[in-house]
Amino acid sequence: MARSRIGRTQDATVLVLTSLAEGPKHGYALIKDIEALTGEVMGPGTLYGVLVRLEEEGLVQSLESEDRRRPYRLTGQGAAALRERLETSLRIARLGLSRLGTS
C-alpha cells in the first residue's frame, strides 16, 4: 500500500483546519495533534506554509502570543470552508464505497 504523504497541499490544509476545529492551538500543538490524527509528523515548513496561506485567506486567525508561541484559531469563514470540504469528501467517500460494494 502506498504510503500517505502529509504535505500535499489539500491534505495539509484539511488537517490543519480539522485540528483547529477543536480549538485554538499553537504550532507545536498543531504538529502533535496532526501526528495523532495521521501518525506522521508534519514539518514546520509545511505547517507554516499552510498557516500563512490560511491566514491570508481569512480562514484562520492568529491570537496574542503566549510566551512567543502564537496560537491560531479557526474563523467562521474557515469553519464554513472546512465543513464544505468535509461534506464533499464524505459524499465522495460514500459514493466510492457504495460503488465498491462495501457496506
Partner: protein, 372 residues
C-alpha cells in the same frame, strides 16, 4: 539553541515572512527536534517552504490601499525616469555631427512636448552652413526639413512620449513626496532626521532644475569665432558654450543621479518608519497607481527613442543633407540603464499589484463544528 541548518533555512525566507514567523517557527522546530526528529530533515522542509514563500506574494504586511505604500510604489515606478532621463539627455548634449551641407550640427532638439517635426529644432536658432568653400549662417529648421528619416522620426516620437510620460511620472513622484511629508507632519513623534530626509526630493529638484536651466542658458548663447577658410576669414556662429556647458553637463549627470537616488532612498527610509495615518483623499492614491500602470508605456517610449538614436548614429542621409542627433558611443550605457529601469519599474508594478484590495474576513466568529 537552534541548529545552524534551521537558522539558515529561516534566514532564506523573504523578509516579510521572517519578521512575522521566523522566531515562532524556530521555537516549533526546537520542540520537534527535541521529540527526536532530524534537524536536517526539518531544515530541508523549511528550505522548500522558503522557496514557496518567495514564489508567492506576501499579503500580511501589505494592507490594502495603504496610501503611503501606494505612493511609494508610484515613486518606485517613477524611478526609471530619474535614472534614465539624465543619461539619455547627456547622450544628446554637446556632440558634433556632420552632414553633406553643414559643417556641423551640434546637439539635437531639446526634449519637446511636441510631435516630431522639423520645428522641433526651432529652439536652436542658427547653424553654420557650408556650401563648398562658402560659409553662411541660417536657421536650423529649414535644414532639417525634408531630411527626417524614419530613424529621426522614430526617435522623435520616442522623445515626445518620454517627455509627456516623464512629466506625468514626475507628478507621481511629487505625490509620493507629498504623502511622506504629510505623514511626517501628522506623526505623533516625528524625528528630526525624518524631517530633514523628507526634504531631499525638494533639494534634488531645485539643484537639478537649476543646473538644467543654467546649461540650457549657456547652450543658447551664440559664440562667434572667426576661422580662416581658403585664405578668407569666416565668422562662425555657434550656439554652444563648448567648455562650461560640457563640464556642467557632466556635473549635472553625476550630481543629478546621485541626488535622485538619495532622494528616493530618503523617501523610502522615512516612509518605512513613520507611522502614517493618511486617510487621505482617493486622488493621490489613484494618481500614484496610474503612474505605476503607465510605466510600461514609458519604457516603450525609451526603447523607441534609443532605437531611433542608435539607428541615426549610422548617418542618416536624405537628399543632400545628413542630420543626426545621436552619439553612438553612449548607446550601450543607455541600454543598460533601460534594463535597470525596466527591472525597477517592474518591481514598482509588483508592489502595486500586492496593494490591490482584498475581501476582508466578514465572519470572524468561531462556529462550533462539532454541533454540525
Amino acid at each position: 539553541m537552534t541548529p545552524r541548518a534551521i537558522r539558515l533555512a529561516l534566514r532564506l525566507h523573504p523578509r516579510w515572512w521572517r519578521d512575522r514567523y521566523s522566531e515562532e517557527v524556530g521555537l516549533v522546530s526546537l520542540d520537534v527536534i527535541a521529540d527526536g526528529q532530524s534537524a536536517s530533515r526539518l531544515a530541508m522542509n523549511l528550505l522548500l517552504d522558503a522557496a514557496r514563500q518567495w514564489l508567492r506574494r506576501p499579503a500580511l504586511d501589505s494592507p490594502p490601499l495603504s496610501p503611503i505604500r501606494s505612493q511609494l510604489a508610484g515613486a518606485a515606478a517613477a524611478l526609471p525616469f530619474a535614472l534614465v532621463l539624465p543619461l539619455v539627455v547627456y547622450t544628446m548634449m554637446g556632440q558634433t555631427y556632420r552632414s553633406a551641407l553643414t559643417t556641423r550640427i551640434s546637439g539635437g532638439p531639446t526634449l519637446y512636448l511636441t510631435w516630431p517635426t522639423p520645428s522641433s529644432f526651432t529652439g536652436r536658432r542658427w547653424e553654420t552652413i557650408a556650401h563648398g568653400s562658402h560659409f553662411v549662417t541660417g536657421p536650423t529648421g529649414p535644414l532639417v526639413h525634408g531630411s527626417m528619416s524614419w530613424a529621426t522620426y522614430l526617435s522623435g516620437v520616442g522623445a515626445f512620449l518620454v517627455g509627456w510620460l516623464s512629466a506625468l511620472s514626475l507628478l507621481g513622484l511629487l505625490i509620493a513626496w507629498a504623502g511622506v511629508r504629510y505623514a511626517v507632519r501628522t506623526s505623533d513623534a516625528p524625528r528630526r532626521s525624518w524631517r530633514v530626509l523628507s526634504w531631499m526630493p525638494g533639494l534634488a529638484l531645485i539643484v537639478i532644475g537649476a543646473l538644467f536651466l543654467w546649461v540650457n542658458h549657456l547652450n543658447q548663447q551664440p559664440v562667434v569665432t572667426t576661422v580662416m577658410t581658403s585664405g578668407h576669414p569666416v565668422s562662425v556662429i555657434g550656439i554652444e558654450h563648448p567648455v562650461l556647458a560640457r563640464v556642467l553637463g557632466d556635473v549635472s549627470l553625476t550630481l543629478g543621479l546621485g541626488l535622485w537616488l538619495a532622494a528616493l532612498a530618503s523617501l523610502t527610509y522615512v516612509a518605512s518608519r513613520v507611522a502614517a495615518d493618511v486617510r487621505s483623499s482617493r486622488l493621490p492614491i489613484t494618481l500614484s497607481r496610474s503612474v505605476g500602470r503607465m510605466m510600461p508605456l514609458l519604457l516603450l517610449a525609451y526603447a523607441l527613442w534609443i532605437i531611433g538614436l542608435r539607428s541615426q548614429a549610422s548617418a542618416t542621409t536624405r537628399g543632400q543633407v545628413t542630420v543626426g542627433y545621436a552619439h553612438a558611443g553612449w548607446w550601450p550605457a543607455a541600454i543598460v540603464a533601460l534594463i535597470l529601469a525596466t527591472a525597477l519599474s517592474l518591481r514598482g508594478l509588483i508592489t502595486l499589484h500586492r496593494l490591490r484590495p482584498r475581501a476582508p474576513d466578514v465572519s470572524p466568529a468561531v462556529q462550533p463544528l462539532k454541533s454540525a
